[in-house]
Symmetry: C2
Subunit: 302 residues, 2 copies
């Protein structure tokens, strides 16, 4: 069995996690969370989403977050953008990298950004031009790549076609999103293999853990060459436009598994667990991550 020697993790909790919290987390708590995450050895943090504040009030302070966090050397701070206005704001706020999203299913894309998939791809072209102008790399997520809350099954060929279009537009990474946590290891094995062969280039996987299959899916994806994954600290998150969705796989659970398997991440697991406890504290409710409950909390921790 060939697993990678090293895996690169992108922490998306401050964005994909906090944007789904019912209450708005205060700016200073967001900054404190990101600063803690920066100190764990994580190399990549999606810090905020530059969406219209009416659409997602939880992210209205995206620019303030970017302006106030400590910028650790070697850490890439990423901003998610839905359109050109968002891209301009993200660039002005000083992000290191831009993420864009398009859904594989028309219904989810419509619910998410009120556009057709074709319109979204066109919009991504405009964002790409802005990123290029600013000298920033940009990555593209394909949401609902493994299933849609409205349409059910999603044709893998459709995902591959969108991936090809995104590569052609200049995406430096294509990330497949299991937005509602329905993917299973056989499906992951199949779709990731096709992506590798039919739309070759760097790829990332973004698994929600709704049905507890995220870690199994990560193992399956590694077996066909994937070595980049998203995680959300503590298991923060969900998707406001995907009924029944829960958070991303907890970053600390993923790192615990990878380290157990002898796969390097560059991350200090103890520091990551501290951040997971802190995430739980700032949202004020128990989060889904398992490892922090399996390991006794050190005395003196919050």
């Amino acid at each position: 069995m060939s697993w990678p020697q090293r895996v690169t993790i992108t922490e998306v909790g401050p964005r994909d996690g906090l944007q789904n919290e019912a209450r708005i987390i205060p700016l200073d708590r967001k900054i404190a969370l990101i600063d803690r995450l920066s100190a764990t050895g994580l190399g990549r943090i999606e810090a905020a989403s530059f969406v219209h504040p009416k659409a997602i009030p939880q992210m209205a302070d995206a620019g303030d977050v970017m302006g106030a966090i400590q910028r650790w050397p070697g850490v890439t701070y990423i901003g998610l953008v839905p359109n050109e206005v968002g891209a301009r704001n993200a660039i002005a706020a000083g992000v290191d990298e831009i993420s864009v999203v398009v859904s594989a299913s028309e219904s989810h894309n419509r619910a998410n950004v009120n556009r057709s998939v074709a319109e979204s791809l066109e919009g991504i072209g405009a964002v790409a031009a802005l990123a290029r102008g600013a000298g920033l790399p940009w990555a593209a997520y394909i949401a609902t790549a493994f299933g849609c809350p409205y349409e059910g099954a999603v044709d893998p060929s459709r995902v591959i076609a969108i991936a090809c279009a995104l590569r052609e537009a200049g995406a430096y990474v294509v990330a497949l999103g299991d937005t509602i946590g329905v993917a299973n290891p056989r499906q992951v094995f199949g779709l990731v293999s096709r992506l590798r062969d039919e739309a070759p280039g760097p790829m990332r996987l973004h698994f929600h853990d709704t049905r507890g299959m995220a870690l199994a899916n990560i193992v399956a994806a590694m077996e066909v060459g994937a070595a980049q994954f998203d995680g959300s600290i503590g298991g923060l998150g969900g998707c406001p436009y995907a009924p029944g969705a829960s958070g991303n796989v907890a970053t600390e659970d993923m790192v615990g598994m990878l380290h157990g398997m002898g796969i390097e991440t560059g991350i200090d697991l103890d520091a990551l667990l501290d951040a997971a406890w802190f995430a739980e504290e700032i949202v004020g409710r128990p989060l889904e991550g398992r490892l922090k409950r399996a390991i006794l909390r050190p005395a003196g921790q919050p």
Copy 2:
């Protein structure tokens, strides 16, 4: 990738689950749970543990459980026994099959049954003779096969040596137990491969989901030939002698994943989810299983 076409599941919730509940579940609730499980298509149910009632009061009514449940044709009802007295009681109660346990680590075996591993293996020989006399098959668990709460790492060669001794004594199945949920997919891949090659014969895997890795471990085990797994309805369970342990993998989560992968189990997932909700109801607290929270509960369900 070669996954099995069909997987056989042993439901252990009524034993491994209910024996760990702080309060004693009333006899009629246990019977109702097992009867529901029998109606799901499950072929194997570990119904009770025939231990001394002072050691585990939760299992004091083991004989009454066996006497009162509906015996579905095609379902094997299993009793766990710690010693000869237990074996006699289990046989008298009419079990179809006997399970025995020995730990791979001395400390855990001592905590569990106050014997050395060698003494346990000797005791298993006596139980085996009783089972043979009654014409019953018997299976053997090796607990703490992937790690011990007291000793930490467990030498795989020790596990293989115990497995060989158990096969020699006549165990028709050897089951590896990840009692504290520390196994990772690479470790599972390695130990299951060795078991397959160095102690060949039917094998079963019993994963606790303490760190959320159980489904990933099941996928890894299937890749090296395992096709028999334990599950606990709703995720009921733990181990009273293993600090920090939580329940087995939730049977319905495992079945949901397997069916998604096109692997047959013979089980009706909707009926299994009904049983998971019922398990949650009788213990009166939320259980760890994920699928029952991901799927909206049909109206009219308890």
